[in-house]
């Protein structure tokens, strides 16, 4: 029994994939799965990057008033984001892209180049029209779609799909992860929730198998331009909420865990808790005074 492990830079984060290999013959299969898993990340990045002018997303964002056909790598995350925007009444809104750019989140992680996109002043998710049958996207106004809270999760889900024949695997994309099967000992994977202040410690440890765990924290990616602002921005108030400093969601799909951890962070203590319990998920929240708050099915 062995382990195949590879680490790459994708989507402005460190993507680490570990695959458990039971016997020697499984190595070749694991190699193929590993390659295809990273390919999924690359495809999503090429489709959804807000930082590459020639990504499918940014090309589509330059067209207004006419439908543009897009691939499912882009269509599906946008569809999910819009559903969640409707559910949260626009607190979570994928048209936050221009506001993110203005707060300094506009630099490509590999080339260092900055983007400055054209956008109308006031935009919401209602300015996006999706046609499911034709897989098209229509924008009423010039705007910038940000898929930061869904695209990475979707890439993890596609990668997990490629590795599902393995007895166990972990896809960790900068702390958003999916744990499939079991670990080397045949036990559920032990996942630590990062302590918001002491980076090398876990504040809580949970056991998962066949689940995604995603954490949104205000302790990372702070705005370089404004004090008190971080990368999770309420589209209605244009401010960063601070009821929690970390919000973890455990869900069967990483796209859901990713988007819901961000949305629950944005909705604040009461709204976020209700969102997670209504969706039948598990949430672990950390308050600024380091109290741990757990909701949903408790296994931790």
């Amino acid at each position: 029994m062995g382990m195949l492990r590879r680490t790459k830079l994708c989507m402005d984060t460190v993507v680490d994939i570990q695959v458990i290999v039971r016997e020697e013959e499984g190595m070749e299969q694991a190699e193929i799965g590993m390659k295809r898993a990273f390919e999924a990340f690359r495809r999503i990045e090429q489709a959804c990057s807000r930082f590459s002018p020639d990504s499918e997303l940014m090309k589509a964002c330059r067209v207004t008033g006419a439908p543009v056909q897009v691939s499912p790598f882009l269509f599906e995350p946008i569809r999910f984001a819009i559903e969640l925007a409707e559910w949260t009444e626009g607190v979570f809104d994928p048209t936050i892209g221009k506001i993110m750019e203005k707060h300094g989140f506009n630099r490509h992680y590999l080339t260092g180049e900055r983007v400055n996109s054209r956008s109308a002043d006031f935009v919401t998710y209602r300015d996006i029209v999706l046609d499911e049958r034709d897989c098209t996207l229509l924008l009423h106004k010039p705007l910038v779609i940000d898929l930061g809270a869904v695209a990475k999760g979707f890439a993890i889900d596609l990668a997990a799909n490629e590795l599902k024949s393995s007895p166990g695997f972990i896809i960790n994309a900068g702390g958003d992860l999916y744990a499939g099967g079991t670990d080397e000992k045949g036990e559920p994977w032990k996942i630590g929730i990062r302590h918001p202040l002491h980076k090398e410690q876990s504040i809580q440890v949970i056991k998962v198998s066949g689940q995604a765990v995603c954490t949104s924290g205000s302790y990372e990616r702070r705005s370089a331009k404004e004090a008190g602002m971080h990368h999770i921005i309420n589209a209605v108030t244009e401010s960063s909420p601070n009821d929690w400093i970390s919000c973890t969601v455990i869900a069967p799909y990483a796209m859901q865990a990713d988007a819901f951890s961000t949305a629950s962070f944005l909705l604040g203590a009461e709204g976020g808790r209700s969102l997670i319990t209504q969706a039948g998920l598990q949430g672990i929240w950390i308050t600024p005074d380091l109290q741990i708050d757990i909701a949903g099915r408790e296994e931790a």
């Binding site: 990504s55 691939s71 590999l110 996942i191 630590g192 924290g217 973890t248 969706a279």
Partner: protein, 162 residues
């Protein structure tokens, strides 16, 4: 309430399915079958996206020596390059692949960071090394990729066409 629960799960599983249904990726089963016999049921290359995205569209990823189809004044030579980035904590080596002036892959090929408890900001040490003895992975450890950027720039310098 059950309706609300199912809705999101259905959306997620439909999203994964949509990618395969449209033929953008073949399933792993289809791919391994293809190695033995060219099964013609796999969606063919006709399913190209309407808006073509740049980069390696279905081409073999290890396209080190593949002839460049666009000879028009490229900035970088196609191929695989390594670059080193270092700071006072240690060094990182990345291996990056370039095709048609696009970075198509960046693998972290060597990692030699030493870090102290209090000063790890900007270094993805813990993502690569086990975070502590009890857990295999940590959720919520987003690290800045800044530490890698100089390694990438280093490799890009080598890749530059004279």
């Amino acid at each position: 309430m059950a309706k609300m629960k199912n809705k999101w799960i259905v959306l997620c599983s439909a999203a994964v399915t949509a990618v395969y249904a449209a033929g953008y990726i073949t399933t792993a089963d289809q791919a391994s079958r293809q190695q033995y016999a060219d099964v013609s049921t796999t969606p063919a290359a006709s399913a190209v996206p309407a808006v073509p995205y740049s980069g390696n569209s279905g081409a073999p990823q290890t396209a080190d020596s593949s002839p460049s189809s666009t000879p028009a004044r490229s900035i970088y030579k196609d191929g695989t390059y390594t670059g080193m980035g270092s700071n006072r904590r240690g060094s990182i080596q990345v291996t990056l692949t370039i095709a048609n002036d696009k970075i198509t892959d960046v693998e972290i090929s060597r990692f030699g960071m030493h870090y102290s408890e209090s000063d790890v900001a900007g270094l993805p040490s813990e993502v690569l090394h086990n975070q502590n003895s009890q857990v295999t992975n940590v959720s919520g450890a987003t690290y800045s990729t800044k530490a890698f950027q100089s390694a990438v720039q280093d490799a890009l310098m080598i890749a530059r066409n004279a």
